[in-house]
Symmetry: C2
Subunit: 351 residues, 2 copies
């Protein structure tokens, strides 16, 4: 992996291993409340992923890796010989917590590779690997952040959607990693963020995260993106990804696809920033990526308020797929792919 020399740090830690337990920043209550929750039970971690205590594809992957450590510790305590069997239902529950992001399955798969080599207490080896996955993600973010900032170069402003920041990753961020690098180099003057209904990751998390680091951020509704682009305030849209198919189609937060379509119309460029762990070569195109549908009440309300009439019906798909043809650049820690296609994506994995 290319090493980053960027030392600009983020103060935000969404996932941490602390005194033998997993500590998660509760993203459901930000920015009003900054609260950490601690976990020692794998099934509670699965619930936390489902209810979005932690969210963001890379952060979910890292959380799952630590959750495998918790599961193995408990199972080994129960039966030191059969722990690998005991753990299976836990891992299946964990993998099903959220279907769209591939990083969850990827991280669990990485951890499982070590199982057969574990003699005796599996904790030391598994914990070391989980920490490695975590650190690897931060390094990847720094590297792809640097690479992405050089693609953007010196310009005026960028628009981002959802939260692909330190809160969504091991730290630093993917889309916000690019934005942090661009800002620290003086390449950009202003960041705009879509509020990102229904869960308001943009309004609640991205504004908060950038304000922690004194990066100038202006919040807009998801509806205002077209006028923002037309006004000349932004030259690039930068987003993260939950899963990238082999042909370059990108599953990401609902609303990403119409942002890419709108950017193309206004000749604003469109960047996807993601570690290679988000690329799923088994998925030939975006059409095969499972799209999670979440509860209606996320759409029928906004935070605690009900916004729609009683008995109103809603549809709440959490992700959409942006065709590779609408993407100017996919930026990973292994390199930048301009105008992605299957050949260029497979080449990333060829030494």
């Amino acid at each position: 992996m290319i090493q980053s020399t960027n030392t600009f740090d983020s103060s935000v830690k969404a996932v941490e291993w602390s005194n033998g337990r997993l500590r998660l920043l509760d993203q459901r209550v930000l920015p009003a409340v900054v609260r950490y929750l601690e976990f020692d039970d794998v099934n509670q971690v699965a619930d936390a992923i489902r209810s979005m205590v932690v969210r963001g594809a890379p952060a979910i992957g890292i959380t799952a890796a630590y959750a495998v450590v918790l599961a193995a510790m408990a199972a080994h305590k129960k039966d030191p010989h059969l722990w690998q069997e005991i753990i299976q239902p836990d891992l299946e529950r964990l993998i099903k917590a959220r279907p769209t992001a591939v990083n969850l399955a990827w991280a669990i798969g990485e951890m499982q590779k070590l199982f057969s080599g574990c003699d005796g207490d599996p904790e030391p080896a598994l914990l070391a690997r989980a920490k490695e996955i975590h650190e690897q993600d931060i390094r990847a973010n720094r590297t792809l952040g640097d690479l992405g900032s050089e693609v953007i170069g010196k310009t005026q402003g960028v628009l981002t959607h959802c939260n692909a920041g330190a809160l969504a990753t091991g730290g630093y961020g993917t889309a916000l990693g690019v934005i942090r690098s661009s800002w620290s180099k003086g390449y950009i003057k202003q960041v705009y963020v879509n509020e990102t209904r229904p869960w308001l990751q943009g309004a609640r998390l991205t504004t908060w995260e950038l304000m922690q680091d004194q990066i100038p951020v202006t919040l807009i509704t998801d509806n205002a993106a077209s006028l923002l682009m037309k006004s000349g305030r932004v030259q690039w849209v930068v987003v993260g990804a939950d899963r990238i198919a082999a042909n370059g189609d990108v599953a990401n937060k609902i609303g990403t696809c119409q942002l890419a379509i709108t950017a193309k119309h206004h000749r604003v460029r469109f960047m996807v920033a993601a570690p290679t762990s988000t690329i799923d070569l088994h998925m030939p195109s975006g059409d095969e990526i499972p799209i999670e549908e979440r509860p209606e009440n996320e759409v029928l309300g906004c935070l605690e308020n009900k916004i729609a009439p009683e008995n109103c019906t809603a549809w709440n798909p959490a992700f959409d797929v942006t065709p590779g043809a609408l993407i100017d650049a996919i930026v990973t820690e292994s390199g930048v792919i301009n105008r992605p296609d299957e050949k260029k994506i497979r080449a990333l994995f060829t030494p």
Copy 2:
């Protein structure tokens, strides 16, 4: 004007003249609270328009016409000879209440045409004209609703944005007039509505209005429109307009332009439904239409909840302009314009 034979009625009345006063349904608190406010002071009506007690271009126009009656009644009481002079500052304040919708200025202009012919008490003549403007709007809606439904024909579903319904007009609605007509003829099976942040006209008003009339409606976030179109659930997007320029560019609720861009991408057709009073032949293109910017707090919060961090900055343009080239049909009470351009729009006004 073409007469509609459609008798399907809406039970919703946003604006009414009642016992010498103007009665408005308070749209700020719907659907949780159904509350009517009464006005006998023109400046309070201007405040009500600014604070969106009443909203929607045609409804604002009708409200302004009745407000001119209130202003003239008060001014004539003060001085029966100088009332036309006394009234001028009131009318200027009224016209400035909201800048984007042309119907406000149009209706006030229509009322002013009668001033010179008013001998003695101006109330009877002005009130008769305000009621005529009101009834003309309802007739126009019914007619354009019928015309629009025939353009759509028998299909599956339509998507609408904001509220261009009975609540936004004299009654019946423009976009929702088309949808009411389509539904009553059995042409469509399902209506989808964008929640329409920041003011949530879709979530709060359009759902409520359609549910009053038992028309099946499903609420989505503004972000889900692209996936909805891709899924094949909708064949048309139908919206209203706040001002239509001479070249066919359409100013409408923020988010409309990216909806049109997205519809074009997915080969979903795009209809604007509006009375001819919304067409402003003095505006050569959409670039000259003034776009209202509303307070930041509408974006920083959602109903009573704050959603963004303290001291966060926001940008809140309330409208955007959709280029005529992205519009398949503009439907008015005087006829349907396919693929609008200046020649076709001017032809509407040529007898």
